[in-house]
Subunit: 313 residues, 2 copies
């Protein structure tokens, strides 16, 4: 399916040799689609993503089903993934009750989700920024006791729909706080997709200055303004080796009014492979998976690479 | 229309302070749309693009009407643009007959279009690469005699649909030949959108080594695989200050089977303004123009920035 010999592999100095893609399509993607996908289809999706070589496939969320009906089947889904190493299947956990549910099912990687801005903390968690951190403290403590890996998502690291530009110092403060709680790694989210490459590199440098090493940072860009891949390239130049992406660009329907579009994993893989950066991903298998999921959802994939490759045959 | 204070302006070192956008929507864009747009609408489009601050608005093509029916009205269109400085209105010219037509209408900037690959030279011009250069020689000579600025487009600089990867040495050879003919500037085209940022920077470095200064180079990326803006950022880092883009992403319908998608000017402007790079462009006026043109064409704009901003009101 991939055009023969393309992309041409041309490495440049100063970039990582390998990038770990944190695949969020089955969780962040499906959570934001209008359609509720049956549990068995989700399980097949996750299996196909893992088989395409994605090292981490975020599987589901243990948020209360009332808030995220698309992922209300976590208890039914997780056992269907029993043949996969749970270290490859991060799950979202909002609080201690969610942690209990995740641990009972054998989850080995969890993620909490904080906000850099008060407006989004209020809207998403009905708490202040610090109140949310206080809620996560026992979650992280108990996860660490159970030797479970903890990722901290941080939303609105660049701009906020209510507050506009987000000061870098505020993002740095919350990142430090998440690491102080015990998070193993952080994912810097551009939730509304407004970041540009200089902003990305400046935030990363400011975090380094505050004692946060790049090795503990991932990036999570949205393609709302088409900036996600340029921002990713800028992050790679700063040494970032963990990049979040969503198979087929799931999670932001391009025809919806508020296209919040995740970076499509296929577009990312095209760039990384062109740069000679190893990912372990088989782009053809991944694309075929996204074509299949687009059929399940009844609409074309917003990923440009998926569209280009799937019309080549 | 633009979100207040966004994108946040964060400059980084080593980038140009100003970029000149070469707007190709009215020519390269409309040429590749299925719909033939009435002449008066084209004239209004070009006026609105110029009023939005775009310094160069490629207006039309003097190719034989048989080959490009969408632009068969060049003689009717150009006089409708009489209030605009013709130095702002480049036109495409394939041969001496086309040059005669363009000069008769008062054109002051022309562009010839060459190919880096034999397959595309044959398909697009029914000539060899060198045969096409020979055809352009008298065109460039006579244009220079008339003190008309000449741009040389070079297609397939990164990959070719028939030949696959294109060797950098071949691109360098044709670029040198175009400059030797007398072209004032070159536009390096990724016609099928397969380039990645390392390939871009390596080609630019190779051109410099061959004596081609970056100041005479523009870049022309297609978003077929979602790489256009990342490639543009890579080119800016190499010192490129001329970037081609198409208002609203015109020229590659996202729903067509072969989405050849030009880089959308709005997505480019979002990035450049976020990087603190001056363009002279009013993003709100430009977006409004693309929304209007999308209505003319009866389908949504493929530009993510246009979609995001036009749904904010």
């Amino acid at each position: 399916m991939t055009a023969a010999g393309l992309p041409m592999e041309v490495a440049v100095e100063g970039l990582p040799t390998r990038v770990r893609i944190h695949e969020v399509g089955a969780r962040d993607g499906l959570q934001n689609e209008g359609t509720v996908v049956p549990t068995e289809i989700k399980a097949e999706f996750i299996h196909r993503l893992a088989a395409a070589g994605l090292p981490l496939v975020e599987a589901t969320s243990f948020v209360h089903p009332r808030w995220v009906p698309q992922l209300a089947d976590a208890e039914q889904l997780f056992p269907l993934l029993g043949d996969l190493d749970p270290h490859r299947l991060p799950v979202l956990v909002p609080n201690e009750r969610g942690l209990d549910r995740a641990l009972a099912l054998g989850a080995r990687r969890i993620a909490v989700f904080a906000s850099a801005t008060e407006s989004f903390a209020k809207a998403n968690l009905n708490r202040t920024v610090d109140g949310a951190l206080a809620m996560f403290a026992p979650v992280v403590d108990r996860a660490k006791d159970a030797k479970v890996h903890v990722r901290g998502y941080l939303s609105m690291c660049f701009g906020d729909p209510w507050e506009g530009p987000v000061p870098i110092a505020r993002v740095v403060r919350v990142c430090r706080a998440l690491l102080d709680l015990g998070c193993d790694e952080l994912s810097l989210g551009d939730t509304i997709g407004v970041a540009t490459p200089g902003h990305v590199q400046t935030l990363l440098a400011s975090l380094n200055e505050a004692g946060v090493p790049t090795s503990r940072l991932g990036v999570h860009f949205h393609d709302t303004y088409g900036q996600a891949l340029a921002n990713t390239f800028a992050a790679l130049q700063h040494g970032v080796t963990t990049v979040d992406a969503s198979a087929g660009g799931l999670g932001g329907c391009p025809y919806a009014k508020s296209a919040t579009g995740n970076l499509a994993t296929e577009d990312l893989v095209w760039m990384l492979h062109g740069l000679g950066i190893e990912t372990g991903v088989d782009l053809d298998r991944l694309t075929a998976t996204s074509v299949w999921m687009a059929e399940v959802l009844g609409r074309p994939s917003p990923s440009r690479t998926v569209r280009a490759l799937s019309h080549k045959e």
